[in-house]
């Protein structure tokens, strides 16, 4: 019930940053490391304060002199870029059949926003790639609260439509020279293999830490849909489908086979794969997603 309440709260919170703050507050400590990293952190420059900056990073002496807030920017030896990849195809609009107003896209938005917020707190650069309507919207990686606001605003404006962009488009957008990167991909993975799955495998082979979050709904898992209703594939060609007790077993079998294949391929390419119903509390799913261990080389905590 706590999970349901939390997911429903996330669904009904209009402001993404508020929901992220709520999720991250519920996580407590341990999901992200402290910002200060000892010797590795060196002063780089001052920059103007932006909402979201921690107060302890404000230089009070400079404020007393200039009567403005300035924040000390630190430069770190190593930079880990975090890439948030959102599958915003039409099938991501699949709503939860038990929680009003909650859909896969909103849930993916929230979790990617949380990852972005964590990256920002850690001082990592993070970028965003939204696969929507046969195109990939690319936001270059950057650091800081302004980048977080930019990313959150982009996430909030994202609307799911169309199908997955082609392989060429994804190859051009998801080509990260800087290593190492963490690539967090949130989607429903109903199409597999797909340009996105190929891109994930390719990035993994380039030694990036690719993490897959497969979002499902409780109704999909339990195979319980309205039997009187005709259904259509949001990314299909308008053909009609029907659900009934007679086809329930076949549906469950085909679906399980599909996701077993997805999980198996992810495993074989050493991509941590977490499948979660969107009715579950986002905090737990986020923890499971980010803490999933890589098989051979170990993952980031």
């Amino acid at each position: 019930m706590a999970g349901l309440a939390s997911a429903a709260l996330a669904a009904h919170t209009g402001k993404l940053d508020l929901a992220i703050r709520h999720v991250l507050a519920g996580l407590g400590h341990g999901i992200h490391a402290g910002r200060e990293r000892g010797a590795g952190v060196e002063f780089s420059e001052y920059r103007a304060y932006a909402p979201g900056d921690e107060w302890r990073r404000v230089d009070w002496k400079l404020m007393a002199r200039a009567d403005r807030y300035y924040v000390r920017e630190a430069e770190r030896d190593s930079h880990v870029a975090v890439w948030l990849v959102l599958d915003a195809t039409a099938s991501m609009l699949e709503p939860s059949r038990s929680i009003e107003g909650l859909d896969k896209l909103g849930y993916a938005r929230l979790l990617l926003g949380c990852v972005g917020a964590i990256a920002q707190r850690q001082g990592d650069a993070f970028g965003l790639v939204v696969c929507e309507g046969e195109r990939a919207h690319f936001t270059p990686a950057a650091r800081g609260p302004r980048q977080l606001q930019r990313v959150l605003s982009l996430l909030e404006r994202t609307d799911a439509a169309g199908t997955m962009p082609g392989g060429e488009v994804l190859r051009a957008s998801l080509h990260f020279a800087r290593a190492p990167s963490v690539v967090c991909v949130a989607g429903d993975f109903l199409e597999w293999p797909s340009p996105l799955s190929e891109a994930m495998v390719r990035l993994r082979s380039m030694r990036h830490d690719v993490r897959a979050l497969c979002l499902q709904t409780g109704a999909e898992i339990a195979a319980s849909f309205d039997t009187r209703q005709a259904w259509r594939d949001p990314e299909g060609d308008g053909k009609l489908f029907r659900f009934g007790t007679d086809v329930r077993d076949g549906y469950a079998r085909r679906r399980d086979d599909h996701f077993a294949m997805v999980a198996q391929q992810c495993r074989s390419h050493d991509i941590p794969y977490v499948a979660a119903p969107i009715e579950r509390a986002p905090g737990g799913v986020l923890r499971a997603w980010l803490q999933a261990k890589l098989n051979a080389r170990g993952g980031r905590g």
Partner: protein
């Protein structure tokens, strides 16, 4: 019998069903995992909404009017009434109406003496509580009628005026015929004519030559069968040959013209009985028993014209609206 047509009212359901909107089941909700479900064909759905409501109403009313026309409904609209036989004395009628407490009741002039028959045919037009008074020279029915309304009969025997009969005589001994009819003129008045006209009831052909082609009358007395050789083989009853021809009914007997009083009386009685019927007696003053379970009489067709007109108008409107809709 006609009221059985009301059972055809369910026919009204047909246009209602036909006008239900046909809609293919295109309203399908998106389901991300639909690809794991078997495909289904679009289903024709009939939703409980109607298109062309005006046309639907027109068609329903049209069918209703048709059924009503066939069922021939009779609305009980007559209240207390005084049924007046033609020829009744108005003073007598007023007196009887006052005596029966129906002074203000509506007066209905009957078309003839057959008051009981008229009442039986129109009894459904009277409201259940209506009281009826039948005044005048009412013909007595063969059997006591059974009515659903209380009826009082106040007869007034009218003096019978002898009806006039036109007789055309074609004979060389016309004077003999004239004498014969003069002798019989006590009960009826006979008008002897030399040429047959449209009012001629009896034509006497007492000539050997055949009559002209256009001569026609309801009844011919043929005294000289030389003009009608077919009468020789005609069937006979009591020596009277009879034959129906294009000119009318032919009678012929050896004793025409009647030579004695008995033969003349027989001839005349036969004629009167067969052609004019028996004049019914005047019904006695009576109040027939009222029985509400008496089966209703034949239908009156009071609304038939109105319904037929409504049907015509509705049909024209329906055609026009259908035409406009198709354009």
């Amino acid at each position: 019998m006609n009221s059985l047509w009301w059972w055809a009212l369910p026919v009204l359901l047909l246009p209602i069903l036909w006008h239900r909107q046909k809609r293919e089941q295109t309203r399908a909700l998106p389901l991300a995992t639909a690809r794991f479900l078997p495909a289904s064909k679009p289903v024709q759905l009939r939703v409980w909404r109607w298109d062309d409501v005006l046309l639907l109403i027109l068609r329903c009313v049209l069918l209703l009017a048709l059924i009503a026309l066939l069922a021939d409904p009779v609305l009980p609209w007559r209240g207390d009434s005084v049924l007046v036989v033609p020829g009744a004395d108005p003073v007598f009628v007023d007196r009887q109406a006052r005596a029966a407490g129906l002074a203000d009741a509506r007066r209905i002039d009957l078309p003839g003496r057959e008051g009981y028959r008229w009442l039986r045919e129109h009894e459904r037009e009277f409201r259940p509580q209506a009281r009826l008074l039948l005044v005048g020279d009412v013909a007595m029915p063969a059997a006591l009628p059974r009515l659903r309304h209380p009826l009082t009969v106040r007869p007034q025997a009218a003096p019978v005026a002898p009806p006039e009969q036109h007789v055309a005589v074609y004979s060389r001994r016309a004077q003999e015929w004239r004498t014969l009819f003069d002798a019989l003129g006590a009960t009826q008045r006979y008008v002897i004519e030399e040429q047959a006209g449209p009012g001629t009831g009896l034509l006497i052909w007492d000539l050997p030559e055949p009559p002209p082609a256009g001569l026609r009358a309801p009844l011919w007395w043929v005294a000289d069968t030389a003009a009608f050789p077919e009468l020789q083989k005609a069937p006979q009853a009591d020596g009277l040959h009879y034959l129906d021809s294009r000119r009318g009914r032919l009678w012929s007997a050896a004793w025409l013209p009647p030579q004695d009083a008995a033969a003349a009386r027989t001839m005349f009685e036969t004629w009167q009985r067969l052609h004019f019927g028996v004049r019914p007696h005047t019904a006695p003053a009576q109040a027939p028993a009222v029985d509400a379970r008496t089966p209703a009489g034949p239908d009156g067709g009071a609304l038939r014209d109105m319904l037929a007109m409504a049907l015509l108008v509705l049909f024209a409107l329906e055609r026009m609206v259908t035409h406009v809709r198709r354009r």
